[in-house]
Symmetry: C2
Subunit: 306 residues, 2 copies
């Protein structure tokens, strides 16, 4: 694969290198945005950093970078928004893993926040990661006030209710052990995972000043990509080991969660994912920019092993 080269961007002609560079860039940015562990209250900042720097794949920031790059946005304008998205994602994981939610001990290959620290600290670490995410964008001096407002509103809708991540979490919890329809599974997934991933793509296009038609196309692309991500996540849960995943495998089954494999079976879910990947890539025809990288990301999501 050849992606365009410029001085500002993760410099690569390989997707893997692009993804690695995205990790490095967002980690560097996050490290600056989160108070150090020698700043009081130390335990809170240790807990945040424990969960935030646990070797996550940083898929969401990479998507912000990849779409931003497609629209020629300078990398420095993307850093805080990419970091904010990862903070929101990590807060949701910390709270998701709590005993009263999914009750999980393992995340990203290490103890979950409440196991390593305690429940109260984990709740507060999640709470404040959400705050720090919005603060990071609000204080982003590389962007105009108008753009920051659009991004904050976009992220809030994607993370919130009734169409965002928390709404999806609630629906997901309510569906446990219930018979759910195909439409319900898709509705849960669109909100729980899809909305924030869709916002990543849109954010990159907003910062890159894409026009209305381009924003619409990228919105469709990233929305489909988000659903694809969740279907493959569901599939990995049943086909991979805990060691490969770095989180407890088969926990969807244990919790009787509404997932694609539980509704469609593994074979049909895989076929659905493959056809959704094609659709996702096809929406890029509506964007008159070099979109090879975005297409490769979709294929990467389809074929990923963890």
């Amino acid at each position: 694969m050849l992606v365009r080269f410029d001085d500002n961007y993760p410099v690569t002609n390989h997707l893997d290198t692009f993804l690695d560079e995205s990790i490095r860039l967002v980690d560097e940015s996050l490290d600056k945005l989160i108070p150090a562990t020698d700043v009081a209250p130390s335990r809170l900042h240790e807990a945040i950093r424990w969960s935030l720097f646990a070797g996550g794949k940083r898929f969401r920031p990479a998507l912000v970078f990849a779409v931003g790059r497609t629209f020629d946005a300078p990398i420095e304008k993307l850093l805080r928004t990419a970091s904010a998205v990862e903070m929101i994602h990590t807060y949701s994981l910390i709270h998701d893993d709590l005993p009263s939610m999914d009750n999980d001990d393992l995340r990203r290959g290490r103890e979950t926040c409440h196991k390593k620290f305690d429940e109260a600290t984990a709740i507060l670490a999640g709470d404040v990661l959400e705050t720090l995410a919005f603060q990071a964008v609000a204080e982003d001096k590389t962007l105009s006030a108008e753009m920051r407002i659009v991004l904050i509103a976009e992220l809030a809708r994607a993370a919130g209710t009734p169409h965002g991540m928390v709404a999806g979490q609630q629906l997901d919890l309510e569906a446990e052990g219930q018979a759910v329809s195909v439409d319900q599974v898709e509705e849960i997934h669109r909100r729980k995972t899809g909305a924030l991933i869709a916002a990543c793509g849109k954010a990159g296009a907003i910062i890159g000043k894409g026009d209305a038609a381009e924003l619409d196309a990228i919105s469709t692309y990233s929305s489909k990509l988000g659903l694809l991500f969740q279907i493959t996540d569901d599939l990995l849960d049943v086909t991979q080991t805990t060691e490969d995943l770095g989180k407890t495998a088969r926990k969807d089954i244990a919790a009787n969660k509404a997932t694609y494999p539980s509704v469609f079976g593994i074979k049909e879910s895989s076929a659905l994912a493959a056809s959704l990947c094609e659709e996702t890539i096809a929406t890029l025809n509506r964007v008159d920019r070099p979109t090879t990288l975005l297409a490769e990301i979709a294929t990467h999501i389809l074929e990923r092993g963890s």
Copy 2:
């Protein structure tokens, strides 16, 4: 007391009426900003509304209104910010009451969110109230983008870490059962309660376009007011009944919390509160506006019975 009359404001020449009108105004605004209970996920929206519309005193929104009024800001420009502050405050109460935090069954005279619903729903309701707070300001079309950004950053710092509310919560939890110094108690209180109350005053002055000197004076006024509020809160916890408070009385003692009465005793804490109230009112001399209402609010906080 005589406060200036205009068509836009809570119309009153009595502080009590002003406070009642503030409640009515912010409740009306909150009702518009929170999804209805017939919107999915219903249970999430019911839980939010259960805690948000539980008859809170709405002291923080009233302070936004009172300072805004002092600076001649039109009421409609204050509504969403006042609502956002109450959402942040309520999210913190919901999470504070959780079993792994203060483990309380009673709040604002009714069952706490996790008692009425369940822990998972209470965690999500708190999480999304925070999201909705930032969204409310980001989407406030009555304010310029620049002003919205300043307000969001101000609220995030006040609600966050290292100097805001969540940092204070963490320090408070860590201090339980420990011997704490006078400085530590003040430091905890300044962050846990003071920072958000200080932000309310500043927000009113920002929206009312106060100049730098006025903003500084109001910042000092509301910061002192925040500390005064917490000292009287600590005093009420030991002197009032559960019925009067609408929340469990003497729970600070039960949890061995770092409070003013525990460090100074009731008598000296009361004297401290009285002298702090005088200082708070004295800072208003630096504001060349009609500040009678703001002075009366300080006296009201000192003398409040719940």
